[in-house]
Subunit: 191 residues, 2 copies
C-alpha cells in the first residue's frame, strides 16, 4: 500500500534493536484519515470472504479495527483483553500471549458471548513481528468455532518469523507494508 | 442521547457493586454505527469550540475517540498509555491514575511531541465514575500548555463523585447518558 509506505518513510523512526517507531500516526497519535485508507484497502483484499466480525487486541489495534469496520458494513468489532478485570466475567475464551516488547506473558481473553459458529472473523492488528499476538487471536477464533477469514496487518516486520509461520499455516494474511530490513536506519520494503 | 439510553436499557447488565456491564456494544464488543451516532452528538455539543485534537486513554476510549474524530474534521487522536513500554521513549507528560475497577495505580503518559500550546483538546472516554482517569487526562492537558475544550463521556455514573468534581472545576463536561441509580437492577437516567 503505497501511501502507507510513504508515510512510514516520512514519519517512522528506526531505533536500536530493530524497533520501528510509528507513534506519530499509528499507535499513540492516530491519523484517522489514514486509518480509513487502511480500512478501504483491507476491504478490497478481503472482498468476498463474508467477514461479519472483526477481532483485534488492546490497545493499538482498536482504532484501526473500528475505522476498518466501516468498510465491512459496520460489522461488530471485538477487542481481546489482556488482563482479567472485574468488568469481564462469565465464560471466556482464553489464550496466552508473550509480549517481547513488554517482556511479559498475558492472558488474552474474549467473552464466549461474542464469537461462535457462523461468524467469519477478520483479525486486524497494527504490527506483526514474531506473531505471538496473532497466534493467540487465531487460537481464540478456533476455540470459538468461528471461521477465520484471515488477518489484516498494517506493518509486518518481514525479517521476523511471524509472517512466514502464519502463512505456512494456510492463513490468508495480508500485510499492507512489509519491512524486510532496517539496517543502518534505512527501511527497505518487500515489493 | 435517547438512542444511547435505549441501548443501555436493552443491552446493559447491572451487576453487584454498582457495576454496569455494557460489553455487548461499548467496551468489549463495539458497535461502530452507534459510535458514529455518539461522535455526531459530541460534535454538536462541542460545536464552535475549535477542537483540533482528541485525547483518550487506553483501552476502551480508543474506538469511540477514533470514530468521533471523523466528526471533528478527522483531527488527530492521541491515546494516553498506562504503562511504560519500550516503544514509547523520549519526553513524556506523566500523571498517576488510580483504577478502582482493577485495584491498581497506573502511570499514564502522553508524548510531549503530540500535545502543546495552540492545541484545543477534547477528552473522550467511555465511562466517568470517580473521575480519576479524567482528572489524569486533564492534568496532562494542563502540563502540555494546550487548551482544554472539554470532556465528552459516553456513560456517567451520576451517583459517583467524578461528574460533580469536574463540573465544579469549570470544565465543559458532556455525558451522553447519566445514570443516577441502578438500585435493584433498575437503571434510572438523569433527565
Amino acid at each position: 500500500m503505497e501511501i502507507l509506505k510513504q508515510r512510514i518513510l516520512k514519519d517512522g523512526v528506526v531505533k536500536e534493536g530493530n524497533v520501528l517507531k510509528v507513534d506519530k500516526f499509528l499507535n499513540h497519535q492516530m491519523d484517522v484519515k489514514l486509518f480509513n485508507d487502511i480500512g478501504e484497502e483491507f476491504a478490497k483484499r478481503f472482498a468476498g470472504t463474508g467477514v461479519n466480525k472483526i477481532l483485534t487486541i488492546e490497545s493499538s489495534g482498536i482504532g484501526i479495527a473500528c475505522i476498518a469496520a466501516q468498510h465491512f458494513n459496520n460489522c461488530p468489532v471485538i477487542f481481546a483483553k489482556k488482563t482479567l478485570s472485574k468488568n469481564l466475567d462469565g465464560e471466556m475464551f482464553v489464550t496466552q500471549v508473550k509480549s517481547y516488547t513488554k517482556g511479559v506473558t498475558y492472558d488474552v481473553m474474549v467473552s464466549e458471548k461474542y464469537l461462535g459458529k457462523g461468524d467469519k472473523v477478520l483479525i486486524i492488528d497494527d504490527f506483526l513481528a514474531n506473531g505471538c499476538a496473532l497466534m493467540g487471536l487465531i487460537d481464540i477464533v478456533k476455540q470459538s468455532g468461528a471461521e477465520l477469514a484471515g488477518a489484516g496487518i498494517v506493518i509486518e516486520k518481514g525479517f521476523q518469523v511471524g509472517g512466514k509461520t502464519i502463512r505456512d499455516m494456510g492463513v490468508k494474511l495480508e500485510s499492507l507494508a512489509i519491512v524486510d530490513s532496517m539496517d543502518n536506519g534505512t527501511i527497505t520494503f518487500r515489493d
